[in-house]
């Protein structure tokens, strides 16, 4: 029997207010979609709740003005509570996979080793390999041809090569990619193998029922077991509750709202018996540098992210490592990232076609004592993310600026600008000493995150972990968490494939609990 993907309006018109099923999955992104498909394949009756809307390639307008409000959490306006870190996180059927930049890595062995040693998470590359192989095949994950890299990514490759640093083409989950540069707006040609064109249709073909515009508000637990998921139907235009509700009564519940949202839902449901929910939230905090080139870069066109460098990923036990990738250079994202206004901003924007933007992503959670940030709830129930910037992270920001600037210079940049409130202008290697004249951290320069991890950390110790190695909640027997919130640390690579792979593995445990 075939299932369906229905929006809030259809739900209301159909008068549906109750559902029963084997498994209710909250969230339809990288974790939820893979879990749904695996469980449906196993013959289980699956319901998926997704707070975002359902959009397909026909709906993607490829305009920043509409893409962010439609496809991102809080309309693209999510940020840490001090506004120092802008949080880009997807919100639609397919979650962040609908808008991510397609970069895929298996979980690095170095990180798995850290998890075994510090968190008792006994996972190794061999145990995860079958899961990664399966998702790599389904999502056509393969290395992008370097000859297709756009000029912005080419600068990263060429600059690193000139410096004798490691840099390589990235693996991407695409099939029939138009190399357009519009990944972050929703793929206009279904080239990106996002969840709304892969695992979710797989699940639906096998009977899964996916409800879009439906926000899970509370998990009801009686005598240590989930008995219901209470959800509100949202108005597609305003994202606010339209009035009707949906109550799902599942045998088992699997949370996949993503890092930040999954811990928030557990907190709203008062399922935080050991006070660990929301702790150890990691963001891969990102700093950007802008290279100004004499020739056109046209960083708005071409696959936005096709080259990466892990030259500085391991800086020893005491220092925070970082990796480097490119970013798409569309007008709004660029303008809003620059802390300038008036003529200063305008003259910068006039050069948009000649700007190259590279990112340094710091790897949080790996060094001793790095607890990252915290998800909590405001008095009115709103999500709150706090992320203190430790000195070790600020040092990594400085080192990232230097490495990125050197790459841009080596790739021929006329000058390199930092994201500081008064951007440094670096024109040659000597100017790099300017980096010692400024501060690093909150409100000192622009900081972003596109990778949210942790908050429902997996671990061997019931006192310090939210879920066990089988993704099962420590206090509720038939409740699982199957998304990026279970990661004990950040990864040092883009997280999507790790989430796909872990969900692929977790589905077995979820299914066995039915």
């Amino acid at each position: 029997m075939s299932g369906f993907i229905r929006g809030g309006r259809e739900l209301i018109e159909g008068g549906v207010t109750e559902e029963t099923c084997d498994v209710c999955i909250v969230g339809s992104g990288a974790g939820g979609a893979v879990t749904a498909a695996r469980l449906a394949e196993a013959g289980l009756d699956v319901v998926v709740l997704e707070a975002g809307g359902h959009y397909t390639k026909r709906d993607f307008e490829l305009q920043e003005a509409s893409a962010y409000p439609k496809l991102y959490q809080d309309g693209g306006a999510r940020a840490t509570s001090d506004l120092a870190i802008s949080i880009l996180q997807g919100r639609s059927v397919g979650g962040s996979t609908t808008v991510n930049w397609t970069t895929c890595f298996r979980t690095p062995e170095r990180v798995l080793e850290n998890w075994r040693r510090r968190h008792g998470v006994e996972l190794d590359a061999a145990a995860l390999a079958p899961h990664f192989e399966a998702v790599e095949e389904r999502l056509n994950i393969s290395t992008w041809d370097a000859s297709l890299a756009n000029a912005n990514n080419r600068k990263l490759l060429d600059g690193a090569e000139a410096l004798g640093w490691e840099a390589s083409p990235l693996r991407r989950n695409v099939r029939g990619c138009a190399n357009s540069g519009y990944c972050s707006f929703g793929c206009p040609v279904d080239g990106k193998q996002a969840m709304h064109v892969t695992y979710l249709p797989d699940a639906v073909r096998l009977g899964a029922r996916v409800y879009a515009d439906v926000r899970a508000d509370r998990i009801e637990v009686k005598r240590g077991r989930v008995t219901a998921v209470h959800a509100s139907v949202l108005d597609r235009a305003t994202r606010r509750p339209a009035g009707p509700t949906l109550t799902v009564r599942p045998k088992v519940c699997a949370l996949a709202g993503g890092a930040l949202n999954s811990p928030a839902l557990l907190l709203r449901s008062k399922l935080d018996h050991n006070k660990r929910v929301g702790r150890r939230t990691f963001l891969h905090p990102v700093v950007a540098v802008i290279g100004v080139f004499d020739d056109p870069v046209s960083g708005f066109y071409g696959a936005p992210q096709s080259v990466g460098s892990h030259q500085f990923i391991d800086r020893g036990e005491e220092r925070v490592g970082f990796f480097m990738e490119a970013a798409p250079v569309h007008p709004m994202l660029t303008a809003a990232s620059l802390p300038l206004f008036g003529d200063g901003l305008q003259s910068m924007m006039r050069q948009l076609d000649r700007l190259g933007v590279l990112l340094g992503l710091s790897v949080d959670g790996l060094i001793e004592g790095d607890e990252g940030g915290t998800v909590s709830l405001r008095r009115d129930g709103r999500l709150r993310v706090d992320y203190p910037i430790r000195p070790e992270l600020a040092e990594s920001f400085r080192a990232s600026h230097e490495a990125l600037a050197r790459i841009q210079l080596a790739a021929g940049a006329r000058e390199v600008l930092t994201g500081h409130k008064d951007p440094l202008r670096i024109r040659n290697e000597r100017d790099l000493s300017l980096l010692d004249t400024v501060e690093y951290g909150a409100h000192r320069h622009a900081i972003f995150t596109a990778h949210q991890m942790g908050g429902c950390a997996m671990g061997a110790d019931p006192k310090t972990s939210v879920v066990g190695l089988d993704h099962r909640h420590r206090g509720v027997d038939n409740l699982f968490v199957v998304d990026g919130s279970v990661l004990p640390t950040a990864l040092g690579v883009n997280p999507s494939e790790t989430i796909y792979g872990l969900a692929h593995r977790a589905a077995t445990f979820v299914g066995e609990a039915v």
Partner: protein
């Protein structure tokens, strides 16, 4: 970045001055949205229009923010935010027009809308580079204005951005 949620934690984080501002909302500024507005009051819209005009004054081939109706566009964006987030943003906007709060936060009681363009630029510049609190407020309102302005297709030509390609007749190549 993006229409930024501001989270002005009045009274938290040691921002004593702002705790006062929360206690002294200006009656003339508060109140429900008016006219065609979804979230902002007419007065808040005026304040936001004044800020947007300095964030994006136009010229040299670029239209000014007022020509693009940036403040009204922001109002339409705010309706999609969590009501609590939208209220925080309204507070940030009101801050620019609240003499008592301004006196406490910046040492001058002159409302933003009463300043000349040059004085408004100096005001924004001092907040852009000022205390953490001032930077936070600047970032919130700047984010709102910059995103609404620089996402408008009418600025594409000025920045040399051709806009999205047409994919109507796109035929995918195999595998890549």
């Amino acid at each position: 970045m993006i229409t930024r949620r501001t989270v002005l934690k009045f009274g938290l984080g040691g921002a004593a001055a702002l705790a006062v501002s929360a206690a002294v909302p200006l009656p003339a500024l508060a109140g429900p949205p008016s006219g065609d507005l979804q979230v902002l009051s007419a007065r808040e819209l005026q304040v936001l229009e004044a800020i947007a005009e300095r964030v994006a004054p136009g010229g040299d081939g670029f239209p000014p923010a007022s020509e693009l109706g940036v403040a009204a566009l922001i109002d339409q964006t705010l309706v999609q935010l969590d009501p609590g987030d939208a209220e925080d943003l309204r507070s940030a906007i009101r801050l620019f027009d609240s003499p008592l709060t301004l006196l406490l936060v910046s040492g001058s009681a002159r409302a933003f809308t009463r300043l000349s363009a040059a004085e408004q630029d100096a005001f924004l510049e001092s907040w852009r580079t000022g205390s953490d609190l001032q930077r936070k407020v600047f970032k919130a309102v700047h984010g709102l204005c910059a995103t609404a302005y620089w996402s408008n297709p009418r600025i594409y030509e000025g920045v040399g951005y051709p806009g999205p390609p047409d994919f109507k007749n796109f035929v995918p190549a195999a595998e890549q």
